[in-house]
């Protein structure tokens, strides 16, 4: 061992030399390093598959459920109408978990015309959502005081809005059913013939309903009132635009509302359509004012008995009864073509 070794131990030198050598060799290889990149798999937006091969179809109201069931049947589709039976589907607000389930559906059928406002505030799968009244933009009815509520210091006030109950006009119902059929054919192209045949059967039934309606409403000339803005499409067939009172069936009518009605009628008689039975006192007072009450079921929810067509026929019977009572009003209103 020489003098330098004693003063400067060799192991320090060798450690430094080893590190330098190792670093230099890695320099030769680092430029060839392939950086790892994780790129997402390019998946096209497809509906998740359900365990059952039948597509899951979600609807927002009973008429669409009826149309989809008539056309798709229990053999070809799985039907889901998530709104509870004891709630008006138009005002039902699903939870986030319920919306997540709806997002996984193969097809979501919306009514459109602002029906079921939760759909305007929810994240729905655009590619699998069909608005059944989308081609009816010209026919949709907007009324200036569709929504009445109270908030802030200004108190009760109204907003313009669309009337949503498009299915009450059998012709519009046929068009919505046609859209449902097209949507199902898109999902089940192998069963197109069967779906079309079923649609034709439904179309026949709805057209028969329209003819029966024409015989009644087409023959009745009377002033029409509506407790809520729900029956416009039913009456628009005959160019009738009912006046909306915004009365609640289960509440007592205020004197200011009676005064407003009296000034509106100016002694003329009228028929007031309700979507649920009014209080007896209200009905009695209306008769005194020369106003007949008729209750029509808008069929937005699944009926306890029967089906959509039987509910509509029930409405026809109620209208027929009114027609009979108003038999002394001659003349008729031509049905809209």
């Amino acid at each position: 061992m020489n003098a330098l070794d004693r003063v400067y131990p060799r192991h320090q030198f060798w450690i430094a030399a080893s590190i330098s050598l190792a670093a230099s060799f890695t320099a030769l290889f680092t430029t060839g390093c392939k950086p790892s990149t994780t790129n997402p798999v390019n998946d096209v937006a497809n509906a998740p598959t359900s365990p059952d091969t039948r597509p899951v179809v979600v609807v927002v109201n009973y008429p669409l459920e009826y149309f989809a069931q008539r056309i798709g049947g229990g053999d070809l589709i799985q039907m889901t109408f998530p709104a509870p039976e004891n709630q008006d589907p138009a005002y039902w607000e699903p939870s986030s978990s319920q919306i997540a389930e709806i997002q996984s559906a193969d097809l979501v059928l919306l009514n459109g015309a602002d029906y079921a406002k939760w759909t305007l505030r929810s994240t729905l799968p655009w590619s699998r959502t069909v608005v059944t009244s989308e081609d009816m933009a010209e026919e949709l009815i907007q009324i200036p005081d569709a929504i009445v509520h109270s908030h802030g210091p200004e108190g009760e006030h109204s907003h313009a809005g669309l009337v949503s109950e498009t299915w009450l006009d059998p012709d519009l119902a046929v068009r919505q059913a046609r859209v449902v059929c097209d949507a199902l054919c898109g999902r089940l192209p192998a069963h197109k013939a069967a779906l079309e045949a079923r649609f034709l059967g439904l179309e026949r039934d709805l057209k028969t309903l329209a003819e029966e309606l024409d015989k009644i409403l087409g023959q009745t000339e009377v002033r029409w009132l509506s407790a809520k803005p729900r029956f416009h499409y039913l009456l628009a067939r005959y160019d009738i635009n009912p006046e909306v009172l915004h009365w609640e069936a289960v509440e007592s009518i205020k004197s200011s509302q009676w005064e407003s009605l009296a000034s509106r009628l100016a002694g003329e008689s009228a028929v007031l359509i309700w979507s649920e039975p009014p209080l007896d006192a209200t009905r009695k007072r209306l008769l005194e004012e020369g106003v007949q009450s008729v209750v029509l079921d808008i069929a937005a929810s699944r009926p306890r008995e029967g089906d959509f067509l039987s509910v509509m026929r029930g409405n026809l019977q109620s209208l027929h009864a009114i027609h009979e009572e108003l038999a002394d009003h001659p003349g008729s209103v031509q049905p809209r073509k």
Binding site: F13, T30, A45, N46, S122
Partner: protein, 385 residues
């Protein structure tokens, strides 16, 4: 041999400042071309991968590059809006699915991307915790955005006002974090995803009904309880509504996912009319132009670096030669104490090799660091675009 290396090591250690300068110069000369190539390679690879995975983008007429960069990377200037009716136009063609993109606003440094649920399956984005957006006000954070904001599922994230000087502008929106996505190594990691309708609320197109405290005589009392931001919660969500026709509401672009190549071509044909206010672009073609420009500039930069390297090497040779002149006495001493000429030459050579290897080592470390931080490489290229 060990004595040669030892002496070389001791010399360099003694003249550490000079050695350090030489090591730094060599490291720079070696690292610059490697690092630049690496950055451009990784950046262009990531850019082109994301563009290649997106067939078509529809947007307002204007800069195609701006449209692509905003739609894919949520950066660059915001292109002109297009109406939401364009989504129906694409979807109703039957040739492609349409995914709307609204990428105008930010939550701090993170872009707020309003889109549809299909975007998540298109980009294979899955939540690592929580769920995807379901309701107005819900937001889902990319992995990096969640890390930086320290937001958790159940927490809130606030949108940024467009201009701090806009006192008449829309209030920021406090969004509810319902999910955090798995990391993907893409710009999606930096984004805050909402439903496009939530983006419209931020834009002021929708609102709910807040109840400020009523003062005497029907006046409104602006108390400290009056919030200067909008929030959407379970209590007030049902009051939110939009004014105007949704078809006219603005979006930034549409990602069109064609069914096949033929459908893509047919869809492109629908936008050929020069009078059409919309355009359809292929992102990979648009970015190829950008990368072509970048690669051209790289060529010139590499030439410059090459010339610099030659000059640096020449200077280093000069430094070594001058050093040997200065060390003449030292070399004579080595010879006098018994060092042979070959041994002395070996010591000098070992010093040179040592400096070179140390420079290479530093260049290696710098390259490794570049690999680690190469994520911003994309942003550099986008900023260049």
């Amino acid at each position: 041999m060990s004595d040669v290396l030892y002496l070389a090591w001791r010399y360099l250690a003694y003249h550490r400042f000079k050695a350090g300068l030489l090591v730094a110069a060599i490291a720079l000369v070696l690292y610059l071309p490697i690092g630049l190539n690496l950055l451009l390679q990784r950046g262009s690879r990531q850019l082109t991968a994301r563009a290649a995975s997106t067939d078509l983008i529809v947007g307002a007429k204007g800069s195609g590059l701006e449209l692509v960069l905003r739609s894919l990377y949520f950066q660059s200037d915001v292109p002109a809006d297009l109406p939401f009716s364009a989504v129906r136009r694409v979807a109703s063609s039957g040739f492609a699915d349409a995914i709307p993109i609204h990428a105008k606003y930010r939550a701090g440094q993170h872009p707020i991307v309003g889109t549809s649920i299909e975007y998540f399956s298109f980009r294979a984005l899955r939540p690592s915790s929580g769920r995807l957006p379901a309701q107005l006000g819900d937001c889902v954070l990319g992995a990096r955005a969640a890390g930086r904001t320290e937001a958790r599922v159940g927490g809130q994230v606030m949108s940024s006002p467009e201009s701090v000087f806009d006192i008449t502008g829309v209030y920021p929106l406090e969004m509810n974090v319902v999910g955090i996505l798995e990391p993907t190594g893409t710009p999606d990691d930096d984004a805050v995803f909402v439903d496009v309708k939530t983006a419209w609320v931020i834009a002021g197109l929708g609102h709910g009904h807040e109840e400020p405290a009523a003062g005497e005589g029907g006046s409104v009392q602006a108390s400290p309880a009056l919030k200067n931001y909008t929030e959407i919660n379970d209590e007030n969500r049902s009051t939110f509504h939009f004014h105007g026709e949704q078809d006219k509401f603005p979006i930034t672009s549409i990602i069109a996912v064609p069914r096949d190549d033929r459908s893509a071509a047919l869809l492109e044909g629908r936008f050929l009319d020069p009078a059409d206010s919309l355009q359809i672009v292929r992102p990979d073609e648009v970015l190829a132009d950008l990368l072509g420009t970048v690669l051209t500039i790289r060529r010139y930069v590499m030439i410059g670096i090459g010339l610099l390297a030659i000059a640096t090497l020449a200077l280093m040779v000069l430094v070594f030669l001058l050093s040997m002149q200065i060390r003449r006495q030292e070399i004579e001493t080595l010879a006098n104490i018994g060092g042979s000429a070959s041994r002395i030459r070996a010591v000098l050579l070992a010093e040179i090799i040592g400096v070179l290897m140390a420079g290479a080592a530093v260049a290696t470390l710098a390259t490794l660091a570049t690999v680690w931080i190469a994520g911003p490489a994309e942003r550099l290229l986008i900023a260049f675009g």
